[in-house]
Structures are given as C-alpha cells and as structure tokens.
Symmetry: C2
Subunit: 303 residues, 2 copies
Amino acid sequence: MTKHNHQTAPTRFIEANGIRFAYRRFGRAGGVPLVFNQHFRGTMDYWDPAVTDGLAGNHEVILFNNAGVSSSSGRVPTSFQEMGANAIAFIKALGLTKVDVLGFSIGGMVAQEIAIQAPDLVRRLILVGTGPRGADMATSRSAEIFAATYDSPEYLWLAVHFSPSPSSQAAGLAFLERKLSRDDRDPEVSGEAASAQREAIGKYIAPADRVFDHLKNIRQPTLIVQGSNDVIIPTVNSYILQRNLPNAQLILYPDANHGSFYQYPELFVSQADQFLRSSHQGDDANLQPAERLPFPSIVSEAI
Amino acid sequence: MTKHNHQTAPTRFIEANGIRFAYRRFGRAGGVPLVFNQHFRGTMDYWDPAVTDGLAGNHEVILFNNAGVSSSSGRVPTSFQEMGANAIAFIKALGLTKVDVLGFSIGGMVAQEIAIQAPDLVRRLILVGTGPRGADMATSRSAEIFAATYDSPEYLWLAVHFSPSPSSQAAGLAFLERKLSRDDRDPEVSGEAASAQREAIGKYIAPADRVFDHLKNIRQPTLIVQGSNDVIIPTVNSYILQRNLPNAQLILYPDANHGSFYQYPELFVSQADQFLRSSHQGDDANLQPAERLPFPSIVSEAI
C-alpha cells in the first residue's frame, strides 16, 4: 500500500446528514486522528503541506470540505453551530469515536462548536487564529483586505496570512509555492458559500451577556496558536480564549499575522505534535479548573 | 572531572564592580551559557532543579546571586537598571562575551535591563512571569500574599507560584521537595535586601509616557512564558511585552500562577531548549520588525 501525503492523498467521499463530504486521509494510522477545519473561503487545498505532512509523521490527518464547500455537496449553513453539527456527522460517518480537532480561523469556531456538541468525541483541540463567540473584531481589517484587488489573486493570502515585514512576506511566498504544488485541485468556494460563511461570522461575533461562559464546558486540553498581529481575527481573542477555557495553553508567534503557523511551520508542527502526544496538560476528565481570578483591569473594562 | 548538577555544583566566587559574586556553573559547556536571574527574595537555591538540570542537558547553566543577595557581597541597588549593570559586570568578569539570559519575575526585569545596556552581550532572552517597565500591577495580590503567615514558611511559595487547584498545589509540593533537596544552602535574603528590591519594583512600575517605547530596542529573539493566572505579576504584562518586543514568542500555561515553569518543568525545558537551539525566530541583527499595528481597543484603552 502506498503511503500517501498531502500531494498524493486521493479525494474520497462519504455520505452523512444528506451531504456528500469530500475528504482526504493520510499519515500514521492507528492513533487518534486529527481532523482539520478550514478557514473562510478555504478548501482542502488551502492547508499548508508543511503543516499537514509535518503532523502526518506521527498522526493520521483528515482534511475535509464541510457542507457546501468546494467539492462537498449541500449548502453552507449560516451558523457555526450547524457547521459543527455537520462536521460531527462527517466524523461519525467515518466510524470514528475519538478524534483530535484542529480549527483555523472560522474553522476554529467550528472546532469549538464540535467540542461543545460532542464532548466525548473530542480528545484534544488546537485552535489557530480564531476567537470565541462574541469575538472582538473592532480592529479587524478583514473586510478591507478581502475587498481589495491584488496583482495575482493568490496575493490576497499574503495580505491575509502574513505580516508586512520582508521576512514574513518571504515566508508567505514560500507558503504559496507549497500550497499550489498539488495538481488535481478542489474547486474554489462559490460566492454563495462565502456569503453564508460571512453571515455565520456576523451572528457569532454579536455581543451577548456572559458570552464566554460556555467556554468553561470545553474541558479538553487545548492548544491556542496565533500571530502577534492578526489583522483578520485580532490577537486579543486568543488571549480571551486562553483565560476562559479551563485547560488551554496559548502560544503567540512574533511578527506574524493570521497564518502564523504557515510562517513557522516547523516550530508549529513540533509544538503541536508535543501537545498532542504528551500528557503535560492532563486529561479532560481529571482536570480541576483553576479558580477564576478577576480579569486584570486592563482587559476587564472591555469584556 | 566530575559532571556537576544543580545539587552538586560548588558555590564559587568572583569579583566585579567591587562585589564578590557567588555563583554556580554546570551543564554542557562549549556553547552559549544561560545565565539565570532570580526572583524577589530568591537565592541560587530557589531555582527548580527540574528546570536547571533539564536545561543543563544541552546548555551550560550559570546561577548567581546578584549584589547584596544572600552569599554575594555588596548592597542590593534600588533600581533594576543598577541590578542589570551589576549582572553585566558579573558576566564579563567570567570572561564571557555572549550569553543567553533567563529572568524570572524581578529577574526578568533585570534581564531586560541587561539586554538594553549590553545588547551585544546577549544572544537570546527568556522572560518568565515578568513585565515591562510600567507593568500593570493593579490586580496583583503580591503584597497580601507576602504579608500573610503560613503553617510552614515554605508554603508561602505555594501561594506565590501555584494556583489554588489541587493539581497545581500537588505540583507545588513536588517543586518544594525538589527545591529543598540540596544540603549546603545559600543564606536567606536579608530584610534590608528585600526592602531594596521592593523599592526597585516601586520605581519600575511607576506609570510614564511612552513607557514601552524602549522595548523596540530589545531585538534579541525572546521567549516569554507565564501562567494563565499570575497573581504576583498579572499575566496581561506578558501579553504587553509580546506586543511591544520586536521578536518575542509568548507561551501561557493553563491553570498556572507565578511559578508556571515549575508546574510544567518538562514542557518548559522542552520549549525553552527548542527556542535556544533552533533558529525559528531568526537572529537579532537581521530581523525586520513588523509594522506596529494599533492595539485592539480592548487593550489600548488602558495602556
């Protein structure tokens, strides 16, 4: 049997919830698989092969398009709760009873909803460049960046994922080269699908009373990763997530924007692999949450 | 030649700046040594052997008492700038021209001053449980915790370094056992020395205009580590450091207080060793700082 990787894993399909889900599966089988949840307008081809293949060394990696995205059938729902329910149906249709879940950007919002709706299904969570319900988007430049035009359409992702520094932009070009090296690519996301994702974001970030309270129910060991200056989902949201999740480690990378883990793929793979394989953060069932101390005044004023 | 460790390394002395500095040196020689800067009221015996011996596997470790502390002669100055100058004199007296510097709590404040005063001497910085000049201490419970009485004097350090959760307190007891296992211990810090350290803290945290501006001059790759709920130096200060240093990675540990790295010594040693040995964050001289984007509103109001 051929050992597949990011570039060679065939696209397969499975039915669940009336949706035909496209997915790819590769890496070291036999342990708890790691299910990747993609960002706004992204398909399976938008992941960085340095990250997926890096993690595939010690983990089985599962990429998929959620309902209505690219080669998966169905419609994109207008809430992350529904996207989470679809993801759970997909995971269960594969016959899996325990997975690790990685979510990037709105994929991290879906990942949180998966953990809330199916706590027994999820062993550990990795949340990259994301935020909680009620996320503070005040300083986000997302609308402006996605609305702009670029010399090459792919340069949009340099603006989204990388900082303006020469070293970050150079890392961005290397990422694009890795990203674009697969030949049989997924179809791009439709305008209708992107609109539904945008609508879900709008609902998710609406302010609400005690909007972070439900985070205490996500008891899985969690690794939160973000860039120091995320202009899509502002970095303070990872800080808020870390303070409100009972068992979360936070890592922020320097000089980095939304695609922090694509800028430092080796470092990320090493840290994520250690997080997934070690028991430093204990197991969900046994963790006693820390006393929730008051927020520092600097932060509590606004949240 | 015997290979020494935390428990067996002899206390040696060296003169500089008119001070007789006590120090211990062990671990893997031949590379860039790692110089440890201790917290309020701490001596060389206050470090966690799991951390020092862990890092000594790949690095030469240098512990010392700064001027006026424990077995070192002289007086404790009443500013971290002066403590930094003394530390630089000590390092140079050892004949070293390049070191990595780790600072914990007020030792992290000294470490920053070392990097500012002697940028060419410092290769990389590790800042644990600390804050910048002008640190936000509004929610610190330091005064109350240090003023309280405890069944055993050592239990003070459970309150300082560990969270109230059963798992953190258990980690704290294991730390105390490690810490107290050396027989020929340094004298405790005098009341006079502690008072001078307290005075230095008072000056350091005084609000001032553009108090974070000088941080952009600390261009060394930096690793910042703190607990999720540091009640001595509030955790938000690491977030502020990360945002203002040009090349800093931030790691926050869950359910952890001031002594976060004593709660997760294996994880810390692994991450710190990787930081010191890899080039993920590049070299100081070549780094182009990221564009400094505006603070999120949530944070900018207060700083």
